[in-house]
Symmetry: C3
Subunit: 678 residues, 3 copies
């Protein structure tokens, strides 16, 4: 494995964020002050140009890059590198005025008015032509500038367009997918239900909100197409840069479990994965620990997209964001914990939105390193500087990566399918949270699972947790069979293997496509609970029962062993947890929804069977590891305010430069990084 820091010339770890000097070109005093303050905060890189199109090209065809060159030069002179964005995240007013097909059309078929951002029609030729020109000029100007270390494509891709151009592209996409055979599509989508058979691909419209919303295959393909079209657009931007700039890596910034784009598809086209992390700390819906776990799941997801290299924390909030329902400040120490969580989980960067607050605009009150007050003695500035200090001290971890043997299967097609399925209970499907909670239960056992797609390389894992795997891709059942029969352990749950890639139900028993033999059971009914409904299950060999909520399947057991049974209601006494030996491995089935933390005995057994080390992690402490070529870095964070004793820890602590022999008293909100040889 080639373990190198993403940006070695930065001394390893990048500390920086989005910077908008174009908003202050008439204030050289501010620009000068910014550099001073950045130096104080140990910032070594900024992201420029994310929304600079109207400064680059204020009038169509008239270009201005000289100001940017000055900025980049000045920064570079002060040892601050630049990540340069393409400006396609928002369009100048003149572009929409002249080329209205650049504007999206909404789900009712109405074109949007000019405004906001991230809302161009990705299929518009006029829009693409303008992007091509500006990107080309930008790349030609800066591709060889030594300060530029990364290209940042557009910004936070997202959304749908229902215009006629997109409709036509969608029809072509479908025609290609179904071999230009409309009957193949009709069969796959079971369209003669409600007489919905199509006579030709030309008849197919997007699932307009006031049109065809009842063909679930159409709904799903529309989402797949949107990812396809967005990816194709992203590649179009990437190709412009690659032609001119051969050596600078390329990324785009992803968002938290973003619903509408299958990031696995987009990730393939990128050199580096980066994402924007905005956890809502101290909210009233969950514990602080849960907020960290929820965020951590995302780190694991993005890390796992390219498991052999670090990822980037591209944006995060110094102090506060301004767009939440409640914009609460991060309490002292939280900024450090959140920044270090990223590093602990495999990031080589801590970046912020934003370096300095703009005086106006939608995000004038979004947290920044430099506030309107403009001084270096604000609470937030000092906390940012502290992170800068720590990153310097632990810079050697750059390039090291996670290496886990457990994975949680998290699949976009399945998210979409579960979300749209006309079954279960609308408010409690919770596919995402079900995956997160499974992941969390393992983290609490000292294991930090990867989060992987159905078509990832599964060979590096010994245990796969696959919650609610409702939809099976072509070949996925075979892949599971192979994984288990060769010695892997899998845990599946209620609502597994009901439908194929086109959402057609499997006949003759769920889970389908051969999986009922793997698990040794058939699911006959899936019952949905009202929010207050409860059942309980009893795990064999344990006395206390576990609460069941939301969903419970009625199983028919074939070859499986019964590990747990229901205790109440009409399914009392029937199996709720089973285990089936299949080849060299074991296939576990959990027929109902429970809090995964209550399944600890089961998970411990699975880990023991797989010879994976279980580590005792005190409550309130988060633990992750990164591995260099011969070095192990263990990260301990105390998210509480009280000191907690950690034992079984040994090595050189990098932040305090302390040698730890066996135990360590971790203060409230303290983070340590313990290095040991392997």
């Amino acid at each position: 494995m080639d373990r190198t820091a993403l940006f070695p010339n930065l001394n390893g770890i990048l500390h920086g964020g989005d910077y908008n000097p174009d908003q202050w070109l008439d204030r050289p005093d501010i620009l000068k002050k910014d550099i001073e303050l950045m130096k104080k905060a140990k910032i070594n890189c900024v992201t420029l140009g994310v929304f600079s199109w109207s400064v680059y090209e204020p009038v169509e065809g008239e270009f201005h890059f000289e100001w940017l060159e000055n900025i980049i030069d000045n920064l570079y002179d002060n040892d601050i590198y630049t990540i340069l964005a393409t400006p396609s995240g928002a369009r100048p007013a003149w572009l929409d005025e002249k080329y209205p097909d650049s504007l999206r059309v909404d789900a009712y078929g109405h074109r949007f008015h000019h405004g906001v951002r991230h809302n161009h029609c990705m299929s518009s030729e006029n829009f693409r032509n303008k992007v091509k020109i500006i990107n080309t000029k930008l790349a030609e100007k800066f591709a060889n500038h030594p300060a530029i270390i990364l290209w940042h494509i557009s910004n936070e891709f997202g959304g749908y367009c229902y215009c006629d151009t997109c409709k036509k592209k969608f029809q072509n996409y479908l025609a290609k997918k179904f071999n230009h055979d409309i009957n193949k599509l009709n069969k796959a989508w079971w369209t003669n239900f409600w007489s919905h058979t199509y006579g030709s691909f030309d008849q197919i419209e997007p699932p307009y909100a006031n049109g065809e919303t009842s063909i679930l295959g159409l709904n799903l393909e529309w989402k797949r197409f949107t990812t396809f079209n967005m990816t194709e657009y992203m590649k179009f931007e990437i190709n412009i840069l690659r032609t001119i700039s051969k050596n600078i890596p390329i990324t785009t910034n992803f968002m938290k479990l973003y619903e509408d784009l299958d990031y696995y598809q987009m990730a393939k086209e990128l050199d580096i994965i980066s994402w924007d992390s905005y956890p809502q700390f101290h909210n009233d819906k969950e514990s602080l620990e849960d907020t960290f776990f929820d965020n951590g799941f995302n780190h694991a997801l993005f890390r796992s997209m390219k498991p052999n290299k670090p990822f980037m924390l591209m944006e995060s909030a110094p102090g506060v964001v301004n767009w939440n329902a409640v914009n609460k400040y991060r309490r002292p120490g939280i900024h450090k914990l959140a920044s270090m969580q990223a590093i602990a989980m495999g990031a080589d960067t801590v970046q912020y939105f934003q370096i300095r607050k703009g005086r106006g605009g939608f995000e004038q009150f979004h947290g920044a390193v430099i506030d309107h007050l403009g001084t270096d003695d604000t609470r937030i500035f000092k906390e940012v500087s502290e992170v800068g200090d720590i990153l310097n001290k632990i810079s050697e971890v750059a390039g090291s990566v996670a290496d886990n043997k457990v994975a949680v299967l998290f699949d976009w097609d399945n998210r979409w399918a579960v979300d749209d399925v006309k079954a279960l209970a609308q408010e409690t499907k919770n596919y995402d949270n079900t995956c997160i909670k499974m992941w969390q239960a393992f983290v609490k056992l000292g294991v930090d699972p990867d989060v992987i797609s159905s078509d990832a390389d599964w060979s590096r894992y010994k245990i796969i947790i696959a919650p609610m795997l409702y939809l099976l891709h072509d070949g996925e059942a075979e892949k599971i069979k192979k994984f288990v029969s060769e010695g892997g352990q899998i845990l599946a749950t209620y609502f597994t293997g009901y439908v194929d890639h086109n959402l057609l139900c499997y006949l003759n028993g769920f889970p389908g496509d051969g999986l009922k033999e793997v698990f040794g059971i058939i699911s006959e009914e899936i019952d949905s609970f009202y929010p207050t409904d409860r059942n309980h299950i009893l795990l064999k060999g344990y006395d206390n029962s576990i609460e069941v909520y939301d969903y419970a399947e009625l199983l028919r057991v074939d070859t499986a062993d019964i590990l747990g049974i229901y205790e109440e209601d009409y399914i009392k006494g029937t199996p709720a947890v089973t285990k089936n030996q299949y080849g060299k491995g074991n296939a576990y089935y959990l027929a109902c929804r429970v809090n995964p933390e209550e399944l600890k005995p089961l998970f411990v057994r699975m880990l023991q069977d797989a010879n994976i080390e279980i580590k005792h992690i005190p409550d309130g402490v988060e633990y992750h590891t990164r591995y260099g070529d011969r070095t192990k870095y263990e990260f301990y964070s105390n998210i509480t305010d009280n000191a907690i004793m950690i034992d079984n820890v040994k090595g050189m602590e990098l932040v305090t430069r302390t040698k730890i022999e066996n135990e360590f008293l971790l203060n409230g909100k303290q983070v340590i990084v313990v290095k040991s040889e392997m």
Copy 2:
């Protein structure tokens, strides 16, 4: 009275449901298996072709019925009859593509895109032409097939269209109604309020959501027109069939208390009433008993539309539906209870949606007799088969009918008017539930009221309960006067007789149009309560007070006797319940909202005065009767899980073939049918 079973050749009771073999034409093995399984479940009839248009006519003008003929023949060879639907419930894609005026226009004036179902413009000539062709061909092909026992027109009519064709039809409808005199309309709608006077019928638009919503007369007439137009369309379909097929009766399937169509108007055009019943058992909003009562009220409503013949339970769910917010399975025994409730209340059929689940489509997870698993040993299949058994055992009840002397007045115009009235409290008008709860209180006294319209034949009843009769049709006050003066008893409530048929307030005292003399009171104020507000009333001769919620009127008493008074607030001591002798009868007035079950003493007195037998029904038991020419069938259902002793029961029990002399221990979830001679 001519008491004959609806379908005598079926041995009395029909057991079946919607079947979609057109989804499986490439799977003869499945089609064969289906017949085997139907036979096992004692299914003797299926409904075919509900959404088969695109199979019949995949390309405009190209017709295929041969497959259907094969299916019908095969079923008939296996003693399974067919109900044949016209396919107009959903349009093929080619039809919308070629004739976009078939698509509806929404309340903002925007035309829908192609998709979903039940959403054609009922006024579209193009659509009607296409329906005429397909229906004609279907009728010509199958009118004489001995398997066909019923025509099923389209499916679950509903909804509105705001297109220009409908607008023009609406204007013509109004012109006719108001004798082409726009001033007559202006006066009826009181349009010079807010300067809304129309100069001509051409100026009148439907009540667009972004247009004229403030003329309540317009809103009401728009609803009346929609029923008129839908009925006229339904008659159009009926006439096509009647021309060709003279002997086969015709129905369409109604829905639970459907808001938007006055089913009383549509019922007149049908030979048989049928409806689709989907109670949400085991929900978190009400008791299981209340769910049964709520459903039972609907049976009573549909039964009462043609009181001299049985009705049909056209659709019901085996096990579970898939389109609720929470899709919870019916617990064991519930399917039997629900099916038998329909029979007990006068249905001659138990039918399901659906016989077999489709592999795809919107309802792939809707309950069915045959699941994706495809076996005869699922819980649901066995419960369906048990119902088949029972129906065989009690087949002789077919053709018998209910015969009740009490009725609840439930009026669509009044529903619409109460719903739209700018008065009271928006969230607690609850006209429907007020009627249901009144009905329920009588059912608990062993009386099963009919549910009737204002223009029904009232002569068969001795007691009429008329909750919230806000709007009085022309002549309705006279009808009430006649009913009471000739010896009938009526109970009216708060919010009675405020407006006439056009929603104009009566002057000189509510209830208007002469009713203040019938009731001997005038209502001066109607006060609306906030959800937590309460008052209490004291019924004369009873010590405990009854809780008042939602509404309370301030009465002025003229000739009436005061039966109860308010105990609190500014109306303390004033009359709340009155009784007025009028001619040979009595007119009761309840001035406030209370739980009708608390009015039991009043209802007992009314029933005793009318010489109607009161029967003691234990809690948890539901009781209904059907009458043959000289036979009485009493149905007892135990909806609890515990055995309950029933006394005062005597006759031959048909399910267990047991002779009962006086009492019977009814097991949990058991249903018995006791036959006795009259």
Copy 3:
């Protein structure tokens, strides 16, 4: 000061309301009866013609005023005066049919259909032409009629139009405002954030809901423009009348804290301020006292717009309204209390919507003096008559006015800016309620603050309370400096002085524009709380802590004295309340949200410092004063049902004609007016 009654020929106080005889022209018996009943109720004035356009001009160009002349004459013969409205509140159907540009366009760019009211495009030339004609004719006909005492322009102005004409007007408005320099606008709106720079004024669109919603300066200017355009339209109507009718004063009716129009701007064009007051008494969200306070704040606001003359209560509900979510009747005595609150706070009129209920229309169940029953013995009629009696008895108060030394600053621009700001917590910004609660705390100390705009004359006040003064107008900081330095006391709160008139943040510390020197502090952070979050502050010299909710700022103290500190969380021990001496005055700063009633010690100190008398007002009693030239009228209302002893009261009580020496036992729901010389 020229203290004269608004309408001296009415014997001082006007008692009346909206009357719609045009709905009853075919019922002369009703019209006759109405006058009888009005006389009984001591009604001396009615408002006519508010929605009479379609009666005046049933067909374009055909006019009918003779009926109105008859009505006015008949009323005048019975000593009932007339307020005459222009009929532009709703358009006849023929007008919309012929001139569809009279209809507004919604926020998505779609034109409305004809219907409802108050929904014309204020910029439409066609609409204006038609208004000009009808108003001219009306004025010419009635300007010299002795019965006419006031012109009433249109009705309850409100709403937005997004049509192309309005867009163009908006662009012109902006071009003028920014000196035709698009760069000036770009800078003011900070548009290069997200690349939103405009190239020309022609590119600027209104903030369409599906367009540009992210430029907060645009959003704010759109609201300012809407006020500008509405005012300009109102002036257009006013000018028509003024040309013909020189001596009759002009008003329009405002609404409760109406969000969308800056009434301060409109008030300047009117001779008299009037408003429509519809408090929801007895609701489930607040105490009865709070409902009165909430309403009272509005009286204070409208009173303060022209502090030297009385205002008008133009509409209020006899008994009940019909358009609330819950339409609950006013309990006995409430009508009197509400009517007298208006008089106590400076109104010279008590007017109702409506004199008689119409038989149909949207408000057929809205309370009226004369009900459908049509008699003089209803509860409501009697309560209205009682008010008529009292008004006669206290007629001498007409012309007297309030005179207060404390004011609450309530600013429309600031409301809009706070509402739209992307910061804080969406659900708890509560600017309005924060102002109301501050006002209420002073009223409970016997002081009845005025409610004033930023550009009012502040010289009459000694104390200004300025809650959440987020936005500072040009020159406002200077005005505050002057006010304080010359001896005034100001209390500002969290979220003060963040942005300038264009919403650009101040640099170098909030509050900006020099105010940090006035208050001697800088606010570094503003933390938003989740609904259940709490902190506490301790006021110096007091033992018990005060609860903090919603917001808390972290302060940096410069010259200010610390009066209170936070007790919890990360800001524990830091300052929460400060006082800074500035010139001859004091500037208080409250850094967090608390219930103002808990700040009583602070307010008492401020009042004492300003030599303003504090009066002990028992709970449940409302107290206000009016001043004639040498007379003081003190109003005491007991809103409870129990008698309350009032002390320190001396003078002649006008309602009971009792001389009070020192104390008075005020019965439940009683109102007294105590006159004393000054």
